[in-house]
């Protein structure tokens, strides 16, 4: 994987200013030009200017290499056109001194004045600014979302123009920089701007720090300021779709263990009662006779498979030196697990869901304590990382308190054979009826349609 690290960099303007400053001082000391032409005052002036340039250049060089030491976060950058502008200025200046032409010196001054004004104005505009960010709470991978940046101008007298706020979004080694351009923010007021993102991978993303840059008005000098506002943002795994094969497999596994005979229904479930139609219900469940009688759609509700409790064990094992295929399988497994959980929670309010997630950090989650806890589960899914040190047998430890006859057991693992062997080797766990799903594409394809597979 390539990465976009934010490394320290050489500040070329800083180097140039250092050379100019030192050059001025050395030149004056060697030749005494200003001392002879103007006097001691000239020498003092050139020493002060040269020292000032050198110190400022040194500061920029250090700040470039060690951005963390830069207290204020201000940055200075000379774009290409700025360099060309300075070259033209220098040519005019030297030409005027060589040709003894005051008018050419005036043209030089008419370039120098606006250049200095540009630098001062950009610096002044960057002061007393505040940025805040409004992020959605959570988002699913692949889902576009909007982030709002609020730029507040706390100056009481100066309007700011053409400010670009560069946010930073990073996850691990990856980062990119969305931005918002604020055309104008009056003094003592704020403006909102939005940018959209679509993050394709689940995980914990860090937003920030924010950098504000401007080149107004001439575009010859770019100044920036870094503001440390850091937010963490979780992206949930993207859900897909479970197929009818999944439901059938669960039903079959349940029958084999408990010997329960069920009546055939649309999902081979036993009808328990009739209730009102809810969005998402299968149209085949509609009980037309009752619906005609009550003049509203009524559906048959089936009890068995969907209303059984579910114990979902997610094996967060990942080899130490994993290749991209293995990593993708791990992610697919998480997406499948997320889909199963969401599907289970959505389809039945009666049965409970118990999730054991193993990985870098383990999670035990019970889903019968209200909606509030679903976020906790999804947060864990988004944060979890693989762990190569998990033994297969660890997956089933201390499960007695959560196992029950009515509970279905589903194990999602990237090493299904190993897990089966562990189960057979330890019959005391009594999980022989557990449904084990590998996370490879071929293994999951019958039961799970991944979001990436849609449309293919």
């Amino acid at each position: 994987m390539r990465s976009h690290f934010r490394r320290g960099r050489i500040s070329f303007p800083g180097v140039i200013f250092m050379i100019i400053g030192l050059g001025l001082v050395i030149f004056e000391m060697q030749t005494g030009l200003l001392l002879n032409r103007i006097g001691t005052t000239g020498r003092i002036v050139i020493f002060v200017c040269g020292t000032g340039f050198s110190v400022w250049g040194l500061k920029e060089v250090i700040a470039g290499f060690f951005p963390g030491y830069s207290k204020t976060g201000y940055s200075f950058k000379l774009p290409q056109e700025g360099y060309l502008y300075l070259v033209i200025m220098f040519v005019f200046f030297v030409g005027s001194l060589i040709g003894r032409n005051n008018l050419l010196l005036l043209v030089f001054a008419s370039l120098a004045g606006p250049f200095v004004m540009n630098g001062w104005f950009t610096f002044t505009m960057l002061r007393l600014l505040r940025v805040s960010r409004v992020l959605p709470e959570r988002v699913m991978a692949g889902e576009p979302f909007t982030t709002t940046l609020i730029l507040e101008n706390r100056k009481t007298w100066l309007t700011i123009w053409l400010m670009t706020v560069h946010d930073a979004v990073s996850r691990g080694d990856f980062w990119f920089s969305p931005e918002v351009l604020f055309v104008r923010v009056p003094s003592s007021s704020s403006r909102q701007g939005h940018y959209q993102l679509r993050l394709k991978q689940r995980g914990a993303y860090e937003f920030g720090p924010v950098r504000i840059t401007t080149r107004f008005p001439l575009g010859l000098v770019e100044r920036g300021n870094r503001i440390e506002i850091i937010d963490e943002f979780l992206v949930y795994p993207r859900t897909g779709h479970l197929t009818s094969v999944w439901r059938k497999q669960l039903q079959n596994s349940t029958e084999l263990v408990s010997g329960v005979r069920t009546m055939a229904g649309p999902f081979n479930d036993e009808m328990s009662n009739i209730r009102e139609y809810r969005q998402g219900d299968d149209p085949r469940m509609i009980h037309w006779r009752t619906s005609a009688r009550t003049t509203e759609l009524m559906v048959r509700e089936y009890e068995e498979s969907r209303d059984r409790d579910l114990l979902l064990i997610i094996d967060g094992w990942l080899p130490q030196q994993s290749d991209p295929v293995q990593e993708e399988n791990f992610e697919r497994g998480l997406r499948f697990a997320t889909t199963v959980c969401m599907e289970h929670l959505r389809s039945s309010r009666i049965s409970s869901l118990y999730v054991r997630l193993t990985g870098e950090e383990n999670l035990e989650w019970r889903g019968d304590q209200g909606e509030a806890h679903v976020d906790e589960l999804l947060d864990a899914f988004s944060r979890t990382d693989g762990n190569y040190q998990i033994e297969a047998s660890q997956l089933f430890e201390d499960l007695d308190r959560v196992k029950s006859g009515k509970r279905r057991v589903v194990i999602i693992t990237a090493r299904p054979e190993e897990v089966r062997e562990a189960l057979q080797a330890n019959p005391e766990h009594r999980l022989q009826d557990a449904q084990i799903y590998g996370t490879s594409r071929e293994e999951l394809l019958p039961v799970f349609i991944d979001s990436d597979e849609v449309g293919k």
């Binding site: 001194l97 060589i98 008018l103 123009w161 055309v183 993050l199």
Partner: protein, 762 residues
């Protein structure tokens, strides 16, 4: 916005082309206006036509060829013009192409290069005005260009683009869509943008002025743009040891006083009366300064001459004493009127010398040139050169040979390419034989001619010929330098040794001071011809010069006075030398600074003198409008701004501390009861999710507790609590004491009921 950008760019390019065309005096660069207008409509707006890059490159190559031909076939000035024309041609090449970002930058750079080239070709005041207008246009154009670039489209960095950046990666992070937050009226360009652009330009112009005034004039070269000869390194003022034809023009519009003259009788030491002054000096006295003998490429120079002599003391009793005080002019030359017999410095016992051949009076090398100099001259009432011509008779043989063989020979030299001048001179003098008659005829050729006029405007009709030829045969209009130079060359053409003298002619008598004041606008050039053993003064400048001088001295209206002030300031600026800069800018500021520092020290030490001087200043309105006044205002404004800034910072600090502490108190008061409510529920395993609002939480998550709440008549109360929470937290309302107590009681009830239930369950 794109249209406005192209209009602005067109205006800027057109203006730079016009400026260059006017400075050059040729319409070539003015064609930029026509081409700019045509390309604006056909290439930029309507997009009906544009030249492909290959063809543009070909045109550029042709432009280089044409400019190269001009460069190698012309003189110095033509070479400079060749460079300028190349810039113009390249501007046209860029204009006819479809404009992308880099094209626009190139056009901006080329336009400023045209301005710079024009600055070398002209010194007129209109250039200053044009530069100001150009600054406004350029700032506006660059600002609009920046706005255009910044807001051009929303940049969707697609997966493909990200993948291109990161070819080896198999994990693409995501997509981003850039956002733009527009102004309130949703327009990118509005009157506010215009105002800020104008403000920026004004600030930039102020800084420009500072840069121009304070950049030290450390001329590091000895070359001029329009000459390939090295100058001898002496400072350039209007009347120094070397004059380029045209240099004096700007001096002749400057009313700065150069020297003060007091006349007195040597014997009695009594000052002259006004009548005596006028009768001695005449209407327009000539004050002789520097003498230049060699003419080359439009430039008069002095011959190297180390023959310095001290004045003979026996001449020190000449009847007229002329006491001079000269302002710093950056030259060692001293001035005198009439037949100078003796001269000596007054201050510091400095010495004054006379050059043997040129008869110039100069001061001692050690006398500083950046300070006023006082000296006196003793003169006779005889004609000019009476004393020195007598002294020449007593020269050594060697000196006489040098004078006749070397010096006079030099004074007959004419540069090449003056055939027409020679022919004209001989034509004029063909009927006379004596040198004196010839000289008078040549002098009268200008004085009696109706063709020749006096003018301070400088215009070159034909840059390929010598300026004297251009004046004699083309322009026939100019100031004293041209008349004197022409006469000198014409005299040489007929074998009469002649030299150019620069100094002053005329002045003003100040009755109150009893001084004769000579200003810069009295600068003048004339000729001395060596005829029959003595130097004869010849002045071919028409009498209309006097009228011009009078016009300069007395403006007829306030507008004319203001115009003259501007012109004087402009002329001073473009001729600003190191010495003048020190005198006009550095020294006054230094003195004010020193004085202010001294006053401040006095103030701190409680001395009354500083208050007195401050009081004197405040009660003298005449001093307010001066550098001292400006400095005082600057210091006052700086102190006031500093005081206001400090006061505001302190106020904000105090206010902020108070506000934060109030806010903390309020926040605690506001959320405390709700926080307790959540805490009670948390003990029951019920937690508000980050995604839930308070109302949602209460509505959906307390279903399990409903039976318990019902038992204790608390089933509706959580909703009520949340309403109160919203009112206080977001509605900025204060909780009344009764409400706070009620909430506290209810929370206790809730806590008790839930705890009780737990105990019962256990």
């Amino acid at each position: 916005m794109k249209t406005i950008l192209f209009f602005s760019l067109t205006a800027m390019i057109s203006l730079s082309g016009i400026i260059f065309a006017v400075a050059e005096g040729s319409p070539l660069a003015g064609c930029s206006l026509l081409i700019a207008l045509a390309t604006l409509f056909f290439v930029d707006i309507e997009e009906k036509f544009s030249v492909p890059p290959v063809v543009a490159n070909l045109f550029g190559f042709v432009a280089f060829l044409i400019a190269g031909l001009e460069f190698f076939n012309g003189e110095i000035e033509s070479r400079l013009l060749a460079g300028g024309h190349l810039i113009v041609y390249l501007t046209w090449v860029f204009m006819i192409q479809k404009k992308e970002t880099r094209h626009i930058w190139w056009l901006c750079a080329l336009s400023i290069l045209q301005i710079a080239t024009a600055s070398v070709l002209t010194k007129s005041i209109w250039f200053g005005g044009a530069l100001i207008v150009y600054s406004f246009l350029a700032t506006w154009t660059l600002s609009v260009f920046l706005l255009y670039r910044s807001t051009r489209g929303s940049s969707l960095k697609s997966q493909n683009e990200l993948e291109k950046d990161d070819l080896d990666s198999k994990f693409v992070v995501g997509d981003q869509w850039r956002g733009i937050s527009r102004d309130v009226d949703h327009r990118l360009l509005n009157w506010r943008f215009l105002v800020v652009s104008c403000t920026m330009t004004c600030l930039g112009l102020c800084l420009t002025l500072m840069f121009f005034l304070f950049t030290p004039r450390i001329w590091i070269g000895q070359f001029s743009f329009l000459s390939d000869e090295a100058m001898d390194g002496r400072p350039l003022t209007g009347f120094t040891e070397e004059v380029k034809l045209g240099d004096m023009g700007e001096i002749l519009e400057n009313d700065e006083v150069v020297m003060e003259l007091a006349l007195s009788h040597t014997a009695t030491e009594l000052p002259f009366t006004e009548a005596e002054v006028w009768s001695t000096l005449g209407a327009e006295p000539l004050f002789r300064g520097t003498v230049m003998e060699k003419y080359e490429n439009g430039r008069w120079k002095q011959l190297p001459n180390d023959n310095f002599q001290r004045f003979s003391r026996r001449n020190r009793y000449a009847p007229i004493t002329q006491r001079y005080k000269i302002s710093p002019i950056g030259s060692a030359a001293l001035f005198s009127f009439g037949d100078t017999a003796y001269a000596r410095a007054i201050t510091d016992d400095r010495r004054v010398f006379r050059q043997q051949f040129s008869d110039e009076i100069i001061r001692d090398d050690e006398a500083p040139l950046n300070q006023p100099f006082e000296y006196f001259v003793r003169s006779n009432e005889a004609a000019f050169d009476s004393t020195f011509s007598t002294q020449r008779n007593y020269w050594s043989r060697f000196s006489q040979l040098q004078f006749i063989g070397g010096y006079q020979q030099t004074l007959r030299q004419i540069p090449d390419g003056m055939d027409r001048v020679i022919a004209l001179s001989r034509e004029i003098t063909r009927d006379v034989s004596s040198n004196l008659d010839k000289a008078k005829l040549l002098e009268n050729y200008f004085l009696n001619s109706s063709e020749f006029t006096y003018s301070l405007d400088l215009r070159i009709e034909d840059a390929s010929v010598d300026p004297i030829e251009d004046f004699l045969f083309n322009r026939k209009s100019g100031h004293c330098e041209y008349y004197a130079s022409s006469l000198a060359i014409m005299l040489r053409s007929v074998g009469i040794p002649s030299r150019l003298v620069s100094g002053f002619k005329g002045g003003q008598y100040d009755k109150n001071l009893n001084l004769f004041l000579v200003q810069q606008l009295h600068a003048h050039s004339w000729v001395e011809a060596y005829i029959d053993g003595s130097w004869v003064v010849l002045d071919s400048t028409p009498a209309t010069r006097a009228e011009s001088v009078q016009e300069q001295m007395k403006p007829t209206s306030s507008f004319a006075a203001i115009k003259q002030k501007f012109e004087t300031a402009w002329n001073t600026g473009i001729q600003l030398s190191k010495t003048q800069q020190q005198q006009i800018i550095y020294k006054p500021i230094q003195e004010i600074g020193q004085q202010s520092w001294a006053n401040a020290k006095n103030l701190m030490q409680g001395r009354a003198t500083s208050f007195k001087s401050l009081l004197n200043f405040l009660t003298s309105p005449g001093e307010w409008f001066s550098i001292k006044g400006g400095f005082f205002v600057f210091v006052l404004l700086a102190l006031t701004s500093g005081a206001i800034w400090t006061f505001r910072r302190i106020y904000r600090l105090i206010h902020g501390i108070n506000f934060r502490s109030q806010k903390t108190t309020q926040r605690i008061q506001k959320v405390d009861f709700y926080r307790r409510f959540l805490k009670i529920l948390r003990r029951q395993g019920i937690q508000q999710a980050p995604t839930q609002t308070a109302k949602e939480f209460v509505a959906t998550s307390l279903t399990d507790l409903q039976p318990k709440l019902l038992k204790n008549n608390l089933e509706e109360w959580p909703a009520d609590l949340v309403n109160k929470f919203y009112l206080v937290r977001y509605g900025e309302r204060e909780l009344s004491k009764a409400d706070a107590e009620e909430i506290h009681r209810r929370l206790n009830d809730l806590e008790n009921c839930l705890t009780q239930q737990e105990d019962e369950e256990k």
